[in-house]
């Protein structure tokens, strides 16, 4: 087919608080845009079937499989990737949870797991084990057997609700 100007798009996003604009092919998937154009390689890519969830990033506050969205579709969006979890105060409680509870082995699934877990806790600050398993069911982990991932999310939930209470006291 012909390569007219519509095959190229300009994509502006706010990623982890920073404004970025890049040109790319219209067919470029958001995951590749994030890795190759934005240079943020913490977001992984693991399958061609939209099943594994290692590519999950937050798009306007919602977790999305970035391999199943065009970069062009994210124009104007606010993105949070794993690189954006840490703040000036240090690691995000979810990152602390994964560290404290050994929530990872090879670490390949971890970025997507943590972004999905963050959204889960935003919607449901005090989830049951079942709710955590259900909430993370779009994420595959080949190493941990999930057990320590659940513990990591429970650790983060406790830590986050404790700091909420501290803040409102």
């Amino acid at each position: 087919m012909s390569h007219d100007h519509h095959n190229m798009v300009s994509v502006s996003v706010t990623v982890n608080g920073e404004s970025r604009t890049e040109e790319c092919e219209a067919r470029m998937l958001l995951v590749h845009f994030i890795r190759e154009k934005l240079g943020l390689t913490g977001t992984h890519w693991g399958c061609d079937t939209s099943n594994c969830g290692v590519c999950v990033v937050s798009v306007d506050g919602q977790p999305v499989k970035s391999c199943t969205m065009l970069a062009a579709m994210a124009d104007g969006a606010e993105l949070t990737t794993v690189e954006g979890l840490e703040t000036a105060d240090g690691l995000h409680p979810i990152q602390q949870g994964f560290m404290e509870c050994h929530g990872l082995q090879c670490g390949f699934c971890t970025p997507g797991m943590m972004i999905a877990a963050k959204s889960l806790l935003e919607q449901n600050p005090n989830p049951t084990e079942h709710e955590i398993r259900d909430g993370l069911s779009g994420q595959l982990c080949r190493c941990t057997g999930y057990h320590n991932i659940i513990k990591a999310v429970q650790f983060a939930a406790e830590k986050m609700s404790a700091s909420e209470e501290g803040a409102s006291a």
Binding site: N7, R27, M28, H32, W45, L70, S137, G138
Partner: protein, 291 residues
């Protein structure tokens, strides 16, 4: 790494604009909604549209759930998770939330849309079975205006619908009638997977009698995702266990499953019957529980 073949990208700013673009760009142009069926197919080059018309900017225009007269109206761009979270849907048609809970996973449900699901017409698609059982209608718009098609006439075959090349599905209307009870049952290989088989059951009851019924089936080769024989076995009957078992047997006999990596045909046929019976029992209980 698999990437779609090159295409031209356009963003629709209104439904009329989307239709205008479809007419202008011709039959090799495709709408993209959530993209969760189309983009995976484009990655493996099962689909190679020359142009994509992104209708995500129409999420506000086509994304609401409301009551209009005696119908529940669901916009085509309603995301799976919005249907799942809607109190209106829960109040009138719990079947839709039963189904949504087992469609893909929560992350996929953030993007996938009701309209995209119906237009994809995957033989294992869950909402087609549920909405067919509910006797819902689809509103389809083109440059010459809108038409209304029963969801059970939307699908002409696997991955094929009556929606024309230059048309867009805008909304689904589900009639609200008294005495309704509904439920959905699905068996999958693992959480988040497509159905091995699933069944949708809707009954409308008056004075202990089933006055009308809808029985939908997905993934088992049922024509138009429904079992008219099962529906006929229910209409005018009291919902006794015998009647339910007979309707379930009719559903199992009428469908036409095929053997594939999800299981042998006979197993799927067994599931079609068993899941129809389970869904019917729950639908009847919900109808009798007074909504």
């Amino acid at each position: 790494m698999q990437t779609p073949a090159p295409f031209g990208y356009e963003r629709a700013t209104s439904v009329d604009h989307a239709i205008q673009l479809l007419e202008q760009l011709g039959p090799e142009a495709r709408l993209v909604a959530g993209g969760h069926s189309l983009l995976p197919m484009m990655k493996i080059r099962l689909a190679q549209p020359e142009h994509l018309i992104d209708i995500n900017p129409l999420a506000a225009e086509l994304g609401s759930i409301s009551i209009d007269g005696d119908s529940l109206v669901i916009g085509a761009m309603t995301r799976h998770n919005d249907l799942l979270a809607s109190p209106l849907v829960g109040e009138h048609f719990p079947i839709l939330q039963d189904a949504e809970r087992v469609i893909a996973d929560p992350v996929v449900r953030n993007r996938g849309t009701v309209g995209g699901s119906l237009c994809q017409a995957d033989p294992a698609e869950d909402l087609s079975a549920a909405l067919s059982a509910l006797h819902a209608t689809a509103t389809i718009r083109g440059s010459s205006g809108s038409r209304s098609v029963p969801v059970r006439e939307l699908h002409v075959g696997p991955y094929e619908t009556v929606v024309g090349d230059a048309e867009i599905l805008t909304e689904i209307r589900v009639p609200i009638r008294n005495g309704c009870g509904s439920a959905y049952e699905k068996v999958e290989r693992r959480v988040g997977d497509w159905a091995i088989a699933s069944a949708a059951a809707v009954v409308w009851m008056d004075g202990g009698i089933i006055t009308d019924a809808g029985v939908g089936l997905a993934a088992v080769g049922a024509d138009h995702f429904v079992s008219p024989a099962a529906e006929a076995a229910l209409r005018g009957q009291q919902p006794t266990e015998d009647v339910i078992v007979a309707a379930a047997a009719a559903a199992a006999a009428e469908c036409n499953p095929s053997t594939d990596q999800r299981g042998p045909a006979e197993y799927k046929r067994h599931l079609a019957g068993e899941l129809t019976a389970r869904a019917l029992r729950r639908a009847v209980a919900r109808a009798q529980g007074g909504q």
